[in-house]
């Protein structure tokens, strides 16, 4: 650095955004952690103990004495939480698999088109992501109605005799999720497939390897970083998904995002909602850490 002594102005460049993130990202999260260890109370705010700084040392002792892990015990024992956790992970896992199967051919095809076209196709893939998810899911509510266009199509093609109900089923949740997250899967896959060294494919062809085998032995393994990135980019947010299961799914078995929402707005059980949130973050942080390790290992090998 040329200027080891930073001016007041330069220090401000770091400190202003730093302070903002501390105040509105880190501190709120610590509050969630603290409230998850509190008890529900019929009061405003509806939890206890409340940290009373005015009471000094005694207040602090009372505060820590009042903390408990009851909410986490509740999460482990109450079947509602257990079910919504299991269901969220299950839906996220299957949906991610479907996304990979659908997204791979699309990404592969984009990477095979001429350069000029690629830019347009990438923009076309990203564009729907920027329109509100609420609106895109609402569009599917239109389509999947009992007398909506999807059933009309199925009836015209004589695939079904009676129009089946799609809304409030897990199938609808899968359709909505796959639709919402397709860009997240296609983009990282495209990014690795586009960089693929084509001379490797030519070499395989020259040596008499059939095309399907070249794909299986060369293309697929080389695109694994893109697959890992795509899987994580989809899996993590899908676990916490709220809008899709709320609008397209049934209410009988909520996903974990809905459970937090319900505990918060419906039952006003803030400590339980906070505990669910902490568990969710722990669930999500694990795959990120694994991915980071994987990424550094790959970089180290190269």
């Amino acid at each position: 650095m040329k200027h080891p002594e930073r001016s007041a102005l330069e220090r401000l460049v770091v400190r202003v955004p730093f302070a903002w993130l501390l105040a509105f990202f880190l501190v709120p999260f610590l509050i969630v952690l603290k409230i998850s260890l509190s008890q529900t109370a019929i009061a405003q705010p509806p939890y206890t103990p409340v940290l009373d700084l005015a009471a000094g040392w005694h207040g602090l002792i009372a505060f820590f004495g009042g903390l408990s892990i009851d909410n986490y015990v509740l999460l482990g024992s109450d079947p509602i939480y257990l079910l919504s956790n299991v269901k969220s992970v299950e839906i996220a896992a299957f949906a991610t698999l479907i996304l990979l199967v659908i997204g791979y051919p699309v990404a592969y095809a984009i990477a095979r088109t001429p350069r000029r076209v690629q830019a347009v196709l990438v923009l076309l893939t990203v564009l729907p992501f920027w329109t509100s998810q609420l609106i895109r899911i609402y569009a599917w509510m239109n389509i999947l109605q009992r007398d909506g266009p999807f059933n009309d199509l199925l009836m015209t093609l004589a695939i079904v005799k009676e129009p089946p109900a799609w809304l409030s089923t897990d199938t609808a949740i899968y359709i909505g999720i796959v639709y919402s997250y397709l860009p997240f899967m296609v983009l990282p896959l495209y990014a690795t497939l586009e960089k693929l060294d084509e001379s490797l494919l030519e070499a395989a062809a020259d040596l008499g390897c059939p095309r399907w085998k070249t794909f299986w032995l060369v293309t697929l393994p080389l695109s694994s970083p893109g697959m890992i990135a795509g899987v994580l980019l989809c899996f993590i947010p899908i676990v916490g998904e709220f809008v899709v299961p709320d609008l397209l799914g049934g209410s009988q078995s909520p996903m974990i995002g809905q459970t937090i929402w319900l505990e918060f707005f419906g039952n006003k059980d803030w400590p339980a909602a906070s505990a669910v949130a902490v568990v969710l973050v722990c669930l999500l942080v694990t795959p990120i850490v694994i991915y980071q390790n994987q990424a550094t290992r790959v970089v180290g090998r190269e």
Partner: protein
């Protein structure tokens, strides 16, 4: 020139159709004259006309616009500063924490971001309303700004800045007359994208809002939960149009930036 096989072409066509058909259906239905959404009653703009008489909806639209303008502007300022700090300042105390706090909100489920901010506002007994949602949207959006501006900053020729300083320009002057013009397209693109993000958000706004600050997505959500309505088809079509124009404009700007930055890199 590479050959595009029929199989690849088929995958492309199906993928693009899957992404766009639902939105097309929504827009077409918004012009349906019939009140029954699924019965086609001919083309009509009556649902758009009826929106003009829906006072609460218009008020929500106005709130959402003001909110998007406010939070996109503050987020762009903060996010650009953060990008400068990360790219130009090398090491500083707390850099790791800083970088973690920039990337974490990008993968955090919205339900948790909303919940944690609400708990903060309750803890400090802040009156919830327009400004609490603005703060929440700013926090979420500034991280996107940082990522976009950061990649542009890392990309351009830093010898230009060094040349300006060698010729005696003080750091602030260098920033204003060399750095800022070079990264401006990225900043403008980031502003537009965060504008779209704020306009679209339902979950974070639901947690952090208060009386008198019902945003458009919250209003739409409470209407569509109970089922499909023709007026909602019209509102949603308008929003798709607005956001679509903003994003296409942003990507054109970004492309312009790339074209302008290219000669500098070629040297």
């Amino acid at each position: 020139m590479r050959k595009v096989s029929a199989l690849n072409l088929g995958a492309l066509a199906l993928g693009i159709a899957f992404l766009y058909l639902p939105i097309a259906v929504l827009v077409i239905f918004s012009f349906n004259a019939s009140r029954l959404v699924t019965v086609w009653g001919g083309w009509s703009t009556r649902w758009y006309a009826e929106l003009l008489n829906d006072a609460p909806l218009l008020e929500s639209a106005f709130i959402s616009l003001r909110l998007a303008l406010t939070s996109a502007t503050i987020a762009t300022l903060l996010g650009t500063l953060a990008a400068l700090a990360l790219v130009r300042f090398g090491r500083f105390r707390g850099r790791l924490l800083f970088a973690a706090m920039i990337y974490a909100p990008l993968v955090m489920p919205e339900v948790i971001t909303g919940l944690s901010l609400l708990l903060l506002f309750v803890a400090v007994a802040a009156d919830r309303g327009f400004w609490t949602v603005a703060i929440a949207h700013t926090t979420m959006a500034m991280c996107f700004v940082t990522v976009i501006v950061q990649s542009r900053l890392a990309d351009f020729d830093s010898t230009l800045e060094e040349a300006a300083m060698d010729l005696g320009a003080p750091p602030l002057r260098t920033f204003v007359s060399v750095t800022l013009p070079l990264i401006f397209p990225a900043i403008a693109a980031a502003w537009m994208l965060t504008f779209a993000l704020s306009l679209d958000d339902l979950v974070i706004a639901s947690f952090t809002t208060g009386p008198g600050a019902t945003t458009l997505p919250i209003r739409i959500y409470s209407e569509v939960r109970l089922g499909v309505k023709p007026e909602m088809n019209a509102v949603c079509s308008i929003m798709v149009g607005v956001v679509g124009v903003a994003v296409v404009a942003a990507s054109l700007l970004a492309k312009l930036a790339g074209a302008r930055g290219a000669p500098a890199r070629a040297r």
